[in-house]
């Protein structure tokens, strides 16, 4: 038994030994061989070790080393892999040759380790940092709307039909920032506005049940936002944008004589000073909205600090904060007056919302083949509609999620690697609306990856979770996963996977007692966890010639759900809602992704997702799910100009809650959605800064469609943006 005192001694000794062993550093910059532009996000690894770095926004990397010379391997999508010997005396410049065709991206979320996207057994989509800029995205939920197979209905994210509409509570997609979950303790919903847009390196979207590694909420998939690393040289970024909604075509919908605008400002600073790195940003956002009583004002802050205790141990401390005041829009007055709330709405009520997340991450490399990762953090959320407590529509809640995870990774040998971990999540809520309740979820997982058969990667894993709650006896959840990835040759890869997912009901779904705008939500303390079984097979095929690249990825999937929790209207009541375990469901479908790129900077991406979402109990379609999603992007760069078209098609919902008609006028309208966005950017080196001017038009054809029952989707919006980097 090691006492606490001795434990600190060992840790101190370990830190001392590791710091003494440092002799020198290797640093340098990775650039494109043709245009000498820095390459951002390239992975630089010391071969046969776990040491390495990812290049920052100026292409720099930095590796602590105890050797005079190192064998480095540099990998970046779209470039030839390079291996070089680097010595520690001078900063080096490494030129990467462009491949004549596309190559695989690196991801971390599928198996909690860095690996090629081509080697994972499930479907993964990426959103890159440049997408946020070109599309003028101020919140991640908007970026997710372009991801194949993903639908965003107001704040509900649905991956391949996993979610319908649930009044903003109980997400079936876990949302992470650098592996740290950002779901509120009460509603278990995603807080998109807390993410620092300027520091997003990429967003990884894993499709299918992911509970074998991520536990509760990963029923339909995983969204992991990876933030950038501090820049070796000082980096200042600024983004200023302002846009204007078009006047509605029909006078009936024109409710304002004023110009309706959205505007925002993002400022970010990043720098590394030796072993210490710091990143900070502030974002201001103000929305008039195209709807009356839908205004919002928001301030978001972000601070991340990193410190390398040694070349084996590093530490990260991250803080996200956001505060907002938002009107309480719920649904329209009717189709004839679609952009204003019902006439009896008290439009003086606004929701004040604060969020604070503080997380730490310590990574310690034990030896060349194994490392430990500790995550510890808290996520605090608060909201209130600021009414008097004796008002029947008063809503208020404060929640804290405490999160802890320890992960151990071991490359046992060339053929096998193991990842294991333990995790706890405590949701503590003190709320007028949801009562005072605490929910604890304890989990442990392990996963083995085997490469003993040539060209085949096999993955097997299991996770167990136990939910602790006073009101219900919960069962231990076992979530296994299996995956196979087989490369027939350099061009064709086959994959197959099975995973189980579960989601413990949120405290809001169990304990809500609230009235708002004609709805009355009542508690159901006996809610059980909902379960999913997820199967997928897929094939990725590359067709390559000297100057063109075509990738076709086809996947077929089948997801079975049990005890699915849905908001249900009580019988003989007008609008009394109770969350119930009522549905057995299955969602099968096919997704086809196509990517075509040329050396002449022409890129075309198209994805078609067919979904067959069935409510087995009632033998009809699940509510609020589209059958077809067809997303397309066409990008052409003729520097300094860049032109992009995004076209999305979503088929109308077959099923909705008919009883909504008692509260919402014209609730039964159903319509396909056709959305065209156009962006034109100009790159400039004005005032010795990298500056990008972008004009984009969202919903360029001013097509009027619904984003939810009684909710008109955004009308045409013209935006101007300046983004600059020092």
């Amino acid at each position: 038994m090691i006492s606490h005192r001795n434990l600190f001694k060992y840790i101190f000794l370990l830190l001392l030994i590791t710091s003494i062993s440092v002799i020198a550093d290797v640093k340098g910059v990775i650039v494109d061989n043709d245009n000498k532009e820095p390459i951002i996000g390239a992975r630089v690894s010391v071969l046969n070790t776990l040491l390495g770095d990812i290049t920052d926004r100026k292409g720099y990397f930095f590796i602590k080393s105890s050797s005079d010379s190192l064998l480095l391997e540099i990998i970046y999508a779209g470039y030839e892999k390079k291996t070089i010997v680097a010595n520690s005396k001078d900063s080096i410049i490494i030129n990467l040759e462009r491949k004549t065709y596309h190559s695989n991206e690196l991801i971390v979320s599928a198996n909690k380790k860095t690996e090629s996207i081509q080697n994972v057994p499930i479907s993964v989509s990426l959103i890159k940092s440049e997408d946020f800029s070109t599309r003028n995205i101020s919140s991640i939920d908007y970026a997710l709307q372009y991801v194949p197979g993903v639908e965003v209905n107001q704040d509900n994210v649905s991956i391949r039909g996993s979610s319908g509409f649930s009044f903003g509570v109980g997400t079936r997609t876990i949302f992470l920032q650098d592996g740290f979950p950002l779901l509120s303790a009460d509603n278990n919903d995603i807080k998109f506005d807390i993410i620092p847009i300027l520091f997003i390196d990429r967003v990884e979207v894993i499709k299918g049940a992911g509970s074998a590694l991520y536990g509760t909420s990963a029923l339909g998939g995983v969204i992991n936002v990876l933030t950038a690393k501090p820049s070796t040289n000082p980096l200042i970024r600024m983004r200023l944008y302002s846009g204007l909604y078009d006047t509605p075509k029909y006078e009936q919908w024109n409710w304002s004589d004023n110009n309706l605008t959205n505007k925002g400002l993002d400022l970010a600073y990043s720098q590394k000073f030796g072993d210490y790195g710091i990143m900070g940003s502030v974002s201001l956002f103000s929305r008039d909205s195209y709807k009356r009583y839908d205004k919002s004002d928001r301030i978001s802050l972000f601070l991340k600090q990193l410190y390398d205790f040694s070349d084996y141990t590093n530490f990260e401390l991250t803080a996200n904060y956001s505060t907002s005041v938002t009107d309480d829009w719920v649904y329209w007055n009717g189709l004839d007056s679609a952009l204003i709330p019902p006439t009896n709405t008290d439009e003086s009520i606004a929701i004040t919302s604060n969020k604070l997340a503080i997380s730490t991450n310590v990574k310690h490399i034990i030896n060349d083949i194994s490392f430990l990762n500790f995550k510890l953090g808290v996520f605090n959320t608060y909201f209130s509609n600021m009414l008097d407590a004796d008002n029947s529509e008063y809503r208020e809640s404060t929640g804290n999620t405490y999160f802890f995870e320890t992960q151990y990774s071991n490359s046992i040998n060339d053929e096998n690697s193991l990842i294991s971990g333990i995790e706890s999540r405590i949701n503590q809520v003190n709320s007028f609306t949801y009562g005072d309740n605490t929910q604890t979820i304890l989990g442990a997982y392990t996963q083995l990856e085997n490469k003993s058969i040539s060209s085949l990667i096999a993955t097997v894993g299991i996770r167990t979770d136990q939910e602790l709650l006073d009101t219900i006896d919960t069962k231990i959840q076992f979530s296994p996963k299996f995956g196979l990835n087989y490369s027939i040759n350099d061009d064709i890869t086959l994959r197959g996977s099975y995973g189980r997912g579960f989601r413990a009901a949120s405290l809001a779904e169990r304990f809500a007692s609230v009235q708002f705008q004609g709805f009355n939500v009542i508690a159901n303390t006996k809610l059980k966890s909902e379960i999913s079984q997820s199967f997928e097979i897929g094939c990725s095929y590359d067709i390559i010639n000297s100057n063109e690249y075509l990738n076709i990825d086809i996947s077929g999937f089948y997801n079975k759900y049990e005890d699915l929790i849905e908001p249900t209207f009580e019988e003989n009541s007008q609008a009394v809602i109770k969350f119930m375990n009522i549905i057995e469901a299955e969602i099968s479908g096919v997704e086809i992704d196509l990517t075509f790129e040329t050396e002449k900077n022409f890129t075309f991406k198209s994805s078609l997702t067919y979904l067959n979402p069935k409510n087995i109990v009632e033998n009809k379609d699940l509510k609020y799910r589209s059958n077809y999603l067809w997303y397309n992007t066409l990008n052409y760069q003729l520097l300094p100009f860049e032109l992009q078209f995004d076209y999305r098609y979503k088929s109308k919902y077959n099923e909705i809650d008919d009883i909504l008609g008692l509260t919402i006028k014209n609730h039964d309208l159903k319509i396909d959605a056709h959305i065209l966005d156009i962006s034109l950017s100009v790159y400039s080196d004005l005032f010795d800064t990298k500056t990008k001017f972008t004009m984009n038009v969202k919903n360029a054809l001013n097509y009027y469609y619904l984003e939810m029952v009684g909710n008109m989707a955004p009308i045409r919006f013209l935006n101007f943006q300046i983004e600059s980097e020092l």
């Binding site: 007056s337 006439t343 397309n632």
Partner: protein, 159 residues
């Protein structure tokens, strides 16, 4: 490059053929009208004290000066009625920002050259002069109301 143009053309054609303009209002009328018939009873005041009459329709009951309410957008006001000693008069308001609740509709008498010198002489009500009535308008509505101005008995003044 020719085949890229072909891809673009196919996509554009698909796009054009596949969509219309989406949702539209059910009611094609883009406005509502409110016709106000003012009936005058009893003898008019002296002519030199009737600088004019106006009809004002308030979305919310006024809380400050009538002019202040009008400039803040809370009220619509008719042109000055300069007729004298008449029995009735029709005024029509056309509204396009709908639906709309009008909670206080009045006839105001300007009795001096100073435009702030106004007095409420008639209120749209449910037969009780002290209780102003509300009227709701939506697209396509054509509503008629009547306001009685009794020169011997003015309704309560708002402030």
């Amino acid at each position: 490059m020719k085949k890229y143009n072909t891809i673009l053309l196919i996509l554009f054609s698909l796009f054009i053929f596949s969509c219309d303009e989406g949702l539209a209002p059910l009611n094609k009328d883009q406005s509502a009208s409110l016709n106000i018939n003012i009936k005058f009873i009893n003898d008019w005041p002296k002519k030199d004290s009737v600088l004019g009459l106006r009809v004002a329709a308030f979305k919310l009951p006024p809380s400050e000066s009538l002019l202040g309410e009008i400039t803040s957008g809370n009220a619509n006001i008719s042109d000055l009625i300069t007729d004298y000693d008449i029995d009735s008069k029709n005024i029509e308001f056309i509204y396009s920002k709908l639906p709309l609740d009008l909670k206080y509709i009045v006839v105001a008498w300007q009795y001096e050259s100073d435009i702030t010198m106004q007095r409420i002489v008639g209120v749209y009500n449910n037969s009780i002069k002290t209780e102003p009535a509300m009227i709701s308008l939506d697209f396509g509505d054509r509503k008629n109301i009547e306001i009685e101005v009794d020169w011997n008995d003015f309704p309560p003044q708002p402030f």
